[in-house]
């Protein structure tokens, strides 16, 4: 298997007619993802290279049976688009959009959680790739092939770097899940670790974190209690000075909390081996999987 996206995915793209939205939707389709619909208010009835466009998400779901939504609209409209997808009954919402206001994210997160019927990945994430099955988002799929390593990460390009190092050692991936670099991600490490633990194809999990917040520390505790598969950790930001925001809204160290050292120690204390460079992560994987 794989997690979250695969052969059963029926994708609707919110913001399909924008330049980036069109480009990545077509990329995803040519990879083999079943893209069934797009949504742009006022452009219902048109199509994007044969993909039907609807005015509302509800209409798209009614007509096509879409079960997964990718959000590609600009930040000021993104919270609304996520809530629309949730209201339309979409099971999995993947929000690529970067720069959504924090209070919008807070309301969206709590609403989705209280309803309990949809899962949100992102925002500000590269999406999810299940090699050989489906790609939803902006991950450059040609660098990855099918295999036994599940990857979950807060960063996009760093995920590609780690995936590439693994590929050079001969390892492929079950799924690569970007959870995003924002302060209020819809899904956290624990949510995805739970899925990889239950997934037959996944034999090893790589978890790539970064400075800021306490998501890695919480994941460490969870791994100790609930994850039987080997987990390798990586943390970016050892050289980041406190109080400075390093690009991601979530990547800021305040006081002594959220440092890379503290996160690496928390993971190691719970039995997770932590690679200090992306190359070292691949070396540890080779050590564990015996290659």
């Amino acid at each position: 298997m794989s997690v979250l996206v695969g052969k059963d995915t029926k994708l609707v793209v919110s913001g399909i007619t924008g330049r980036e939205g069109t480009f990545h939707t077509l990329n995803n389709r040519s990879y083999g993802t079943n893209v069934v619909a797009g949504v742009t208010p006022g452009k219902g009835g048109q199509d994007v290279e044969g993909i039907p466009v609807f005015d509302t998400l509800h209409k798209a779901v009614d007509e096509t049976g879409a079960n997964t939504a990718m959000i590609f609209v600009p930040p000021r409209f993104a919270a609304d688009a996520i809530l629309e997808a949730e209201d339309a009954g979409i099971e999995l919402i993947i929000a690529i959009t970067e720069g959504i206001p924090a209070h919008d994210e807070l309301r969206v997160f709590n609403h989705i959680k209280s309803k309990g019927t949809s899962r949100l990945i992102g925002p500000n994430c590269p999406g999810i790739l299940s090699p050989g099955k489906a790609n939803v988002g902006i991950i450059p799929a040609s660098f990855f092939r099918e295999g036994q390593v599940g990857v979950v990460s807060r960063s996009g390009t760093l995920t590609y770097q780690i995936g590439n190092e693994l590929a050079q050692r001969g390892f492929g991936n079950s799924s690569i899940v970007g959870i995003g670099g924002d302060p209020v991600p819809g899904s956290n490490f624990i949510d995805i670790l739970e899925l990889f633990e239950a997934d037959d194809q996944t034999e090893l999990i790589v978890m790539s974190g970064e400075i800021g917040g306490d998501a890695e520390e919480q994941a460490a505790e969870y791994i100790k209690e609930h994850v039987t598969k080997p987990v390798i950790g990586y943390i970016a930001g050892f050289t980041a000075p406190p109080g400075k925001q390093m690009g991601h809204a979530g990547a800021i160290v305040s006081g002594s909390k959220g440092t890379a050292v503290a996160k690496a120690e928390a993971l190691e204390a719970c039995g997770v081996r932590v690679g200090r460079t992306p190359t070292e992560v691949a070396n540890i994987a080779a050590d564990i999987l015996g290659a």
């Binding site: 980036e20 000021r76 390009t157 760093l158 306490d214 930001g237 400075k244 390093m246 990547a251």
Partner: protein, 379 residues
Amino acid sequence: MDLLEYQGKQLLARHGVPVPSGKPAVSVAEAVAAAEEIGYPCVVKAQVQIGGRGKLGGIKVAANREEVEEHAGNILGMDIKGLTVHEVWIEQASDIASEYYASIVFDRSAKSSLVMLSTKGGMDIEAVADEDPDAIAHLHVDPLLGFQDFHGRRLAFDAGVDADVIRPIGDMLAKLYATYVEEEALLIEVNPLIITNDREIKALDAKVTLDGNALYRHPENAELSDPSAEDPQEVMAKERGLTYVKLDGNIGILGNGAGLVMSTLDVVAQAGGAPANFLDAGGGSKAEAITSAVEVILSDTKVTAVLFNIFGGITRCDEVAKGLIEAFATINPTVPFVVRLDGTNDIAGRELLAEANLPNVHTVATMLEAAEKVVELAA
């Protein structure tokens, strides 16, 4: 975006939070004029975004015009923990019966907002939290429900505020919460929140952080800025739409994606180098953005070598190569460059660089080799 004390107070005042009257001043003459209008005694307060300014002489009470001249003269231009004071806030002096503490924090871990209240205000709240955690009453507010009267009552009783101000403190917390939501703040901290001898409640200080992503909905807040807190390279980068953070070393770094750039800094440091900056050129950077980024990196005169670490997803490596070639044509850098290109259109990018044959540009295959090479060249 962090506000100065007086900007924060003006923001709170717009939402009905009582604050002492005051005026900002950037010169001694302006400070005197402000004091004459406000009356004596007044307080001269350095406007810098750093705690502990009072202990370092950045806050002084003035009884008359001469003292305002003296204190404003001393404080303007003063260095407080590395920040130069460009502005003072002249404020009516307050009589203080009690000093409390109140704050609202965007709690990303709990995915809600944390409201705190304590009667131990006027001191370092982190020290209070360490030594006497029970002295800080706190609760989370569901963002879908908002701040209710019972939240205010509960905090006031739990914190043990004076009986006669239970209700007014609750009202004050409700106003602070309204400010926090309506202005889309990530932090509002009032320390101290004072009770005067006449039993009035006032915010005597204000620390406010606004969400930069939400400023488009608050154009009046977008204009607030603090020149003392900004580094010239960071200002230049911001104007060009680049994410740049100045660091102390001599190796300029450019990458795409925050995580990869952070990782690059770490690998360079492990190789024995000292990064001069964090620069995320972002996703999908075109050649012009790369050229512009090179200018920002090289405007830091400490830089002795530059590392490009690109793993193209949305970003195309040929665009990065074109940007670097253009940078050499326009600004003619004199320091060595180490370039590692992988990902989308990497072969085309490497070919462009090979054809251009730029002086002192070294193309390497992996991130680790790139880090080692740039450390060697920067020495």
